[in-house]
Structure formats: structure tokens, C-alpha cells
Amino acid sequence: MTDPLLKLSDLNKSFGALKATDNVSLTLMPGEIHALIGPNGAGKSTLIKQVAGGLRSDSGTVEFAGRDVTPLGTVARARAGLGRTFQISSLAMEYTVLQNTVLGALGHDGAVMRFFRPVMKDRALVDRGMAALERVGLADQAAKRTADLSHGQRRLLEVAVALTLDPKVFLMDEPMAGLGASGSKRLTGFLDDLRAQAPILLVEHDMDAVFALADRISVLVYGQVIATGTADEIKRDAAVREAYLGAEDAA
């Protein structure tokens, strides 16, 4: 069996008396989409921040490509190959769409201390940024100001910036949020292919997308992983039905 690319072991995080992450362990294998679902307030966003490096865990470890990255911050984890997208689009709004992906390419490149040659005339960076836009279908919007993009287009740009980093693992926080049915379907198809490039830890509320995409699903309730398994296993799991899907059936 191959080693997991991402391995969370016994992660904990409390905010005062609230245990937001309670002994969470999970793995992300090469080539898979591992979806993380759970009702609102289950601690998904907290866990994502602990994985991305923005939030220090109280205990437990995060291993990435066989290396313990627990003490590292956001920047070092990104450099190690963690490509993150945000639940609420986090982009440089004054910049053009292309400039945002060129910024990603610059981050991948790492050579930021260059003061003289115009960055938008740097073929390698611009090509990299443009290629990412083409992959998500935003190439025709390249010259547009990011602030003028629609919500759905911003979601796609988030993904495009992550692509420029050429990450070993994608960490996606609700990429479908607010996309609408057709946009959501398109992105589902895209992510389906993307897993061959790098595995995805996917937090998502869109159950159609989750069941269509996920190789494995973990269900998070009150900070605890109550079940991990394939879509079918999760659908049949009594505890999950009780805690999560059951609530939807009742609704």
C-alpha cells in the first residue's frame, strides 16, 4: 500500500470550553478525493486552518509527504506543496484576473526579490498564470479587474491560483459555494480530472458533488470524525444518518 500524502494524527483544538477539533485523524492518499462533510459548526473550517497552517493545533501532528509540518506556518506549508482555496474568495481585488494567477506563479517560483524587470513581461510567469486560467475557463476574463468578476468566476479564480502553485495536495474549502447548478456541475467535472494531478481534501456542502466525486468521505460532528468510508458506506452508516443525513430527511 502506498503512503498517504497528507496524514493528520490526533489533532486537537479548543477555543475555551469548546472543543472545535477533537482527536481528528485522517489520511489523504495519492490520486483520491477525500471529502470532509458535516453540519454547520462541526469544525470543518477550523480543521482546514489547522491543516493549512493558519491555526496552531493544541496537540497532534500534520504530516505532509512523509514530513512532519506541524511546526510550520502557512507560508512554509504552501511552499512545501499545499494548494489551498478559501471558502470566501481571498484574492487581490484591485488586480486583474491574470495578475492574481501571476502572483501565484511568482509564489511557486519564489524569486520575489526582483526589482527591475516588469513582472507582466516575464514570459514564464505569465504563461503559467495564463495556462491556469485556461484550465478553469477564465482565459477570456484575463484582463478584467478581479473586483468586477461575478461570484462564480471568483470561485474559479481561487482554483486557478491554486493550480499555478502546482501543489502536491489541494485543500479546498467549499469550492462550489454559491456556484449554482451548472457552474457546480462544471467544477465537479474539473475536480474529477484534477485528482489525477494531485489528491484533494475537499470540504463541501454540495452533497451531489460530494457523492459524485469522493473516493472516501469523512463525517465531522462536534469536532469528531464519526465515520470514514466510501459514499455507499457513509450513506448506510447509522451514526451518520442519525447525526447528519437524518436531520436532512426530517427536514
Binding site: A52, G73, A92, L106, M113, V119, M120, V161
Partner: protein, 327 residues
Amino acid sequence: MTRETFLNVILFAILPVTALAAFALDEPFIITLATKAAILALAGVGLNIALGLGGLVSFGHAAFFGLGGYAMGILASHAQSYTPLMETPFLIEGTKSMLVIWGVAIIAAALAALAIGALSLRTTGVYFIMITLAFGQMLYYFAISWPAYGGEDGLSIYIRNDFPGLNTLDPIQFFAIAFGVLAIVLFGAGRLAKAPFGLALSAARQNAERVETVGLTPFRIRLVAFVISGAVTGLAGALFADLNRFVSPTMFSWHTSGEIMIFVILGGVGRLFGPVAGAALFILLEHTLGGISEFWQVYLGLLLLGVVLFARGGLIGTIAGREVAHD
């Protein structure tokens, strides 16, 4: 040519045209005013790198302006009194060479910016403003209480420093030096804004989280920007002291920090030629309104209020509109 480029060409021409017209009309005082505007614009161009591109509201740039001034004052005063700066462990003598003085001013200001930036860039918002202000005031009181270099009275230099091949006491020639430095720095600042570093610096202002997520460290980028910013303002300080042939603790005072910030805000925050427009306007107001009333700064205050409330882009933003994202 975009509207802003056109406006920049005019702004770039205003100072030399004014100086040359004054030269033709034999009005040396006007040449000196144009020189002052060029030097103050240079200080503003320095601040604009931190404030405009990086969003770092430094209220302590007088520290760098003053260090540049004192670099000039100390070196030149030792040269004019024929006393060495220090003898042990090795001999350092004063100098009247402008180029050497500029080098010392740039290095002194850059080192100070490195130290001040390393401490204050750990904070943001109003705390950053207050810490940079505090550092500026520390240097101000230090200069006041240092009798070896004039203390509160400052230092007078009898003859302007030397520049190879030019007579620096001739107003138009000294203007040429100051404007030449401004032009070179403007060119460099323009390149910097469009370079990879500028892209990352401005991105860190817009969204620091985004910059971290692509694997770049905002703190490091901001610190480098702060050092460059301080160095440019330090160079302006050395020129300003040379213009007046005098340096005093006033150069370190928070009024000076505020004035440099006013140039940037009046002209347009983050606009390459903003400080040029701002400094020229400031000097114009000081000269014209100052003749009418000694309380001319009331009108400056009203103007500033108007800009902040109604014309966020400053003079350049009002005329040329929103900045086009660079291609």
C-alpha cells in the same frame, strides 16, 4: 498614451520649466523653491513606496529624512572644521563630497529603517502608526540633546557640498542635481512598482492572506519595501540639508513626517507622480498663501480635508481617474 501618463509628463516638466523660466527671468528665489519642491517630492516618493504600494502608514519617515540631513551635517561640519569624525580604531574624516554624503545618508537611513521596520512591522493599523511615530520622536529628542552637533540649534554648513563638475552654489546647477536625482529615483520607483517585488508588495496590501497562501512572506516583503522607502527619504534629507546649508532637529519632528505624508495624500496615494504633484502644490500654496496670511496652513488643512473626503485619489486620481491595473 493614457490620461495618467499624459498628466505625469506634465508633472515631470513643471519643475524644470519653472526653474528654467525663473533662470531666464533672473529670479533665483523661484529656482530655490523649485529645488525645494523636487527634494520634498523625493522624500514623498520614498514614503509612497511604503505607504502607497505597501499600505504601510509610516508616521515616522522624518527619522530617515533627519538621518539623511544629519549625515550631511555631521560629515560636512567635520570637513569645514578640519577635525576628524573619529581617530580610533581607524581614522574617519569629514567630507564635502556630495556623492559620499549621499552614500552615507542612504546607508544610515536604510539601516535605521531595517531596525525600525523589523520591530514595527510586527504590528498593523494604528499601532504601526504609533510605533513609527515613537521612533521618529526618539530620534528627534536624541538630536536635541546631543550638544556635539548643535543640539537644539542645529548645524550650519557655510558652503554647499561639492559635486564633480558643477558649481553647487549656483541655484540652477543645484536644481539640476536635485531634479536629476528625483528623475532617477522616479524611474526606479516606477520599475519597482511593476516588477515582481511590486506585484507582491501591493498584493500584500490588498490581501496578506492571499500572499501567504501562495508561499510568500508578507513581513519580509514589507520590510524590504520599508528599507528602500527609508533609504530614498534619507537621500532626500541629505539634499534638503544641503539646500538650506543647515540641519536641525526639526527635520526629525513629527511635523516633518506629517508633511511628507501630506505630499503623498495631496498628490495621490500609490501614484508614481503623486508626491511630485503634492510637493509642488504644497510649495505653491506655502509661497502664495503664505504671503497673504501666516495662518496659510488653515487653507492647507481645508484642502487636505477636501481631498480625504471627496477625492481619495488625490490630485492625480481626480484628474486621471482610477488607476488602471498595469499590464
